[in-house]
């Protein structure tokens, strides 16, 4: 029995193609996935991401706990509403999950974690909490729905649908959030475009979805979400990194704060095992197919592997993220095994596209 979000009936009413997405019955596309992708790059699209889990952490020990549990330094969060992207590591320095942590007060933070990792993350956080002994409570918020509205016109459309939110969010910077009544509005996302992620009570989700539809926001499935995040050079857990991969080898060194005396789970392992690979972008030069995860990459410095690949609607060609040896440099040409042939791809530094602009040549 697949799990459903509060918007399941709304997706079906829109004629969505529904798929089993890690145990959740989710829309992969409503019509053309490429049109959904372009709507987000050029105007505004919305995604039901209610399968993701918000976990609220309450108590006097929260700051100290997160300082220890997360690889990024949550002490960077000083303004209420501030948000930070971080990996959560195991003791071996592998990535248990990547998440966004939101700072509400010194005694209340919110984590938003991947759907497929939620149960695992809760168990892990629970076990860390015991060892920690701090005054701390974990509250999984399955009562919340989450709608990501993304695109250059996304914020304007949200204000059109919810005029009362404009004043509190018009000046809000990226990676900040605000709670208004029972709704959280965060200027975050997974597309490389501006926009909001809205967390609200499940019962209110369908009403908001319809209002946004009425304001011209295009419903977009998880198919477009994947091509958008890949163009934006954003990692996907389970493809670009997992429990066996160090964040340093997965292009996520910028999210790991190894400075100073702070100890955190996985730090000793990362210090003992320096970076040995890098995550770079590939653009297929040949028109002979599509780059996909697990394809072998041959470089003069040794072998690598495609971790995520797709067809980029913005570039009109296939792109990928690939884990390759450290010596490989942007501009190099490499060979990728696509089915039974070797195709040439150019190495680039991701992102490929941000804020509607192509960033590679």
């Amino acid at each position: 029995m697949l799990k459903t979000t509060p918007l399941n009936a709304a997706h079906r009413a829109l004629g969505a193609r529904m798929v089993d997405f890690g145990g959740w019955d989710m829309p992969v596309n409503y019509g053309s996935q490429i049109e959904e992708h372009q709507a987000v790059r050029r105007d505004a699209g919305m995604f039901d991401v209610s399968h993701m889990l918000a976990v609220d952490l309450h108590g006097a020990g929260v700051r100290a706990f997160l300082r220890f549990a997360l690889a990024n330094a949550t002490d960077k969060l000083r303004d209420p509403g501030g948000a930070l992207y971080s990996c959560m590591l195991n003791h071996e320095g592998g990535v248990i999950d990547d998440l966004i942590v939101y700072f509400f007060t010194d005694e209340c933070f919110r984590l938003v974690v991947n759907a497929g990792r939620a149960e695992n993350d809760l168990a892990w956080l629970g076990s860390l909490k015991e060892g920690f002994g701090a005054e701390l409570e974990l509250r999984p918020r399955r009562d919340l729905a989450m709608i990501a509205v993304q695109g250059p016109n996304a914020r304007e459309r949200v204000w059109q649908a919810l005029p009362e939110t404009r004043a509190a969010t018009a000046a809000m910077r990226a990676f900040h959030s605000v709670n208004l009544g029972e709704m959280m509005l965060a200027r975050t996302g997974y597309t490389g475009e501006d926009g909001f992620e809205l967390l609200l009570p499940a019962a209110a989700a369908e009403g908001l979805w319809r209002q946004l539809l009425g304001c011209g926001v295009k419903p977009c499935g998880l198919g477009a979400r994947d091509t958008l995040r890949l163009e934006a050079g954003m990692n996907l857990w389970g493809q670009d990194m997992d429990e066996s991969v160090s964040p340093l080898d997965a292009g996520l060194a910028w999210t790991v704060d190894l400075d100073g005396a702070r100890d955190f789970v996985g730090k000793a392992a990362l210090l003992a095992r320096p970076r040995s690979r890098q995550l770079l972008g590939l653009v297929l030069a040949d028109k002979g197919g599509v780059l996909r995860g697990r394809q072998k990459v041959s470089t003069p410095e040794g072998e690598g592997v495609v971790t995520s690949g797709t067809f980029s609607p913005s570039l009109g060609r296939s792109i990928a993220l690939a884990r390759v040896p450290l010596g490989v440099k942007a501009g190099a040409l490499v060979q990728v095994s696509v089915r039974d042939r070797q195709l040439t791809a150019k190495v680039v530094k991701p992102p490929f596209v941000r804020n509607g602009k192509i960033l590679i040549n």
Partner: protein, 126 residues
């Protein structure tokens, strides 16, 4: 889901149309294009090559996934639709207009072993 009556089908979602000259035009069904989503790449078989029944002979890729196209009956490829390979999104626009290649069957009677529209529709709905 459209399944025109005048065509034959396979369980692997190819459609087959018998041409006036006895060759068979092959494409993928409307159901298949809908499942695959936006088609972005098509690799056609070489003209003159023989394939056995059910043998993968072409590749179609959508944004989401790659999929083989299989030979519906044993035979030789006599034509490939290169214009379609340059504009593979036409498969989404009209799957039954988008023929991919034509084959000369080894044995014309093999066509009798293919599914008719009703049988295919029943298969695809499963």
């Amino acid at each position: 889901m459209k399944t025109p009556e005048h065509l034959k089908y396979t369980t692997t979602h190819e459609w087959i149309r018998t041409e006036a000259d006895g060759t068979l035009a092959v494409g993928i069904t409307d159901h298949a294009q809908a499942v695959l989503g936006d088609i972005v790449f098509l690799e056609l078989p070489p003209v003159g090559k023989r394939f056995g029944r059910g043998e993968p002979c072409a590749v179609i890729e959508s944004v989401k996934a790659a999929s083989d196209i299989n030979m519906p009956v044993a035979g030789m490829v006599v034509a490939a639709n290169d214009a379609l390979a340059k504009a593979p999104e036409q498969v989404n626009a009209d799957a039954y207009a988008a023929w991919m290649f034509r084959i000369k069957p080894d044995n014309a009677a093999d066509i009798g072993g293919l599914l008719d529209a009703a049988a295919y529709a029943g298969h695809a709905e499963k």
